[in-house]
Amino acid sequence: MKFKGLMLMLVMSFVLVFAAACGNNNGGNNAGNNEGTDENAGGEASGQLVISGSSAMQPLVAAAAEQFMEENPNADIQVQAGGSGTGLSQVSEGAVEIGNSDVFAEEKEGIPADELVDHKVAVVGMTAAVHPEVGVEDLSKEDLIKIFTGEVTNWKEVGGADQEITLVNRPDSSGTRATFVKFGLDGATPAEGITEDSSNTVKKIISETPGAIGYLAFSYFTDDSVTKLSIDGVEASDENVQKGEFPIWAYEHSYTKGEPEGLAKTFLDYLMSDEVQNNIVPEQGYIAASKMEVERDAEGNQK
């Protein structure tokens, strides 16, 4: 009796596990089928699409998806945020149809970048953000590097108030940090400081800590709580990024495994359409990829 019970229990738990796993697979298959057939049948897109990845891109893609679903009520698009690494991993495993990333797939270890197709949806500009009372609004790149490597520790050394400098960093693996280090600090390793992941927390810390400096995407400079820095006299503005004069910017990528098909293709086309690029993209604080006058490859070389 005891043995029988144990067996039953084992069987039950296996059934549970399999049921869960199969449920998922079925969902995926159905989604694929729907995409194909409905696409051929008419202009209205329908089916299911799961998008995952960069939390910085999530608001943009989610806003576009919402509008898309309003126009195509039969389509169901889910936009999840789990970080660029998660997005790239999941799309290369085939767990999601589209994986969003702040960085080129080539820059991440363990991702088969040659299997993925890059769709550059938007561009995000970033710059250093400082506490409003440090008295500095423009820094040379040289000074910026000195500040972030810990060589300069007081704002008065770069022409500001007599106030000690506090660094606010992002975690090592963050795409924002990678972009800022590469194009803002010319690859210099930042000294240790407070490290936070979420842009909102970083902004809150900079606005509340005297002498704090960190880095944020342009879309977070919405009020006076933090000061946006110009670098080498170039204002951190969308226009300067488009012209290639302001150096700290990155693409927002949507990756698909192989060429996109069905609903994934329809949605990516929609993301690249003027309707999204001219309205939703600037509304969410990004720069339209179509308006860029310069281009960059995975190694960071500007054309």
């Binding site: 039953l8 363990g110 975690p171 090592d172 240790e192 407070i194 936070e196 810390i205 509340e208």
Partner: protein, 305 residues
């Protein structure tokens, strides 16, 4: 005829009633136990295999991992030294226990020995409310209230071990208090009666008789609180500053095992070294939680009453 068929029907129904629920109950209970056991074993195996990848597949030296104080995963020659995080986790845990133990046991004694009625009516609900507050709220309050307070009145940036300790200490306080209160309540009344009978005051009874008698359970309460503190991630991450070096003082930014995992998990790709070392940090957490359980088992075995 009718009588006979009625009798058969009755027998059948009876049989069904007698056996079926018993069998069903067994299956449900055994099943639940099985799921828990399988889940625990599966998590352990998965975490161990993932956590050892760093050393087996990526060739990171385990000695460097456990002894180096440098954590530079993005350098040309990456160094993975987890010492600052192990230190941070232990520091936060021990300091939080130092903070929560006297407060928790004190209020448990108040609740059970001094003001039974009032304690039951007022203190108990207050503690239950503290348990119910989500950790992100503790973190947010810590970030908005405790961090600026430390910065203005004690010094430093405000972010650091001290802020982390206070937030986690408050978080584990209800755990410690409620388990300590249960321990005090479960002491037999004749201990108190005997103590009063030989002329001891209330304080003498508490201090000399009740606390020693409940000591193993009280220590269990503290260790359970510490286990929770060790695993807390979200609230700590918001106030500790997450710097990767060993802090020189309580008001300098530090990091714990959990905060490094939560900060980096989403950005790293599955299977990369950067991701695998996070699993290794998770393995350290799991090993530590096993050690906490062993300590609790040891203490329970020593329980006298």
């Amino acid at each position: 005829m009718t009588n006979q068929s009625e009798a058969v029907k009755e027998r059948l129904v009876k049989k069904k009633n007698k056996r079926s629920p018993e069998f069903r109950g067994k299956v449900i209970i055994l099943g639940s136990a099985g799921v828990i056991i399988i889940a625990a074993i599966a998590i352990t195996l998965f975490l161990t295999s993932k956590g050892l990848q760093t050393f087996i597949a990526n060739g990171v030296s385990p000695i460097e991992f456990l002894t180096s104080t440098n954590w530079r995963p993005t350098d040309e020659n990456p160094v993975y030294g987890a010492v600052p995080f192990i230190f941070g986790s232990f520091a936060v845990t021990l300091l939080a226990a130092l903070f929560a133990a006297p407060l928790g046991i004190g209020s448990a004694i108040f609740m059970t020995e001094i003001a039974r009625k009032w304690g039951q009516k007022f203190l108990q609900p207050v503690i239950e409310i503290l348990v119910g507050i989500p950790s992100v709220v503790y973190g947010f309050i810590g970030l908005t209230v405790i961090v600026p307070f430390i910065r203005d009145h004690i010094g430093g940036l405000g972010f650091g071990l001290l802020a982390g300790t206070i937030v986690v200490g408050i978080m584990i306080l209800p755990t410690v208090t409620s388990i300590a209160a249960d321990a005090m309540r479960s002491l037999p009344q004749n201990l108190r009666d005997a103590s009063y009978a030989i002329g001891a005051t209330r304080w003498q009874t508490i201090y000399r008789v009740l606390i020693p008698a409940a000591l193993p359970s009280l220590l269990t309460a503290i260790v359970l609180g510490m286990a929770r503190a060790f695993g807390e991630a979200l609230a700590v991450q918001m106030v500790i500053g997450n710097a990767r070096n060993l802090p020189d003082s309580l008001v300098e930014p530090a990091a714990t095992l959990t905060t490094i995992i939560t900060l980096n998990m989403g950005h790293t790709t599955f299977g990369s070294v950067e991701n695998n070392v996070l699993w290794s940090l998770g393995l350290i957490l799991l090993v530590m939680s096993y050690i906490f359980i062993v300590i609790i088992r040891f203490l329970s075995a020593r329980r006298k009453v």
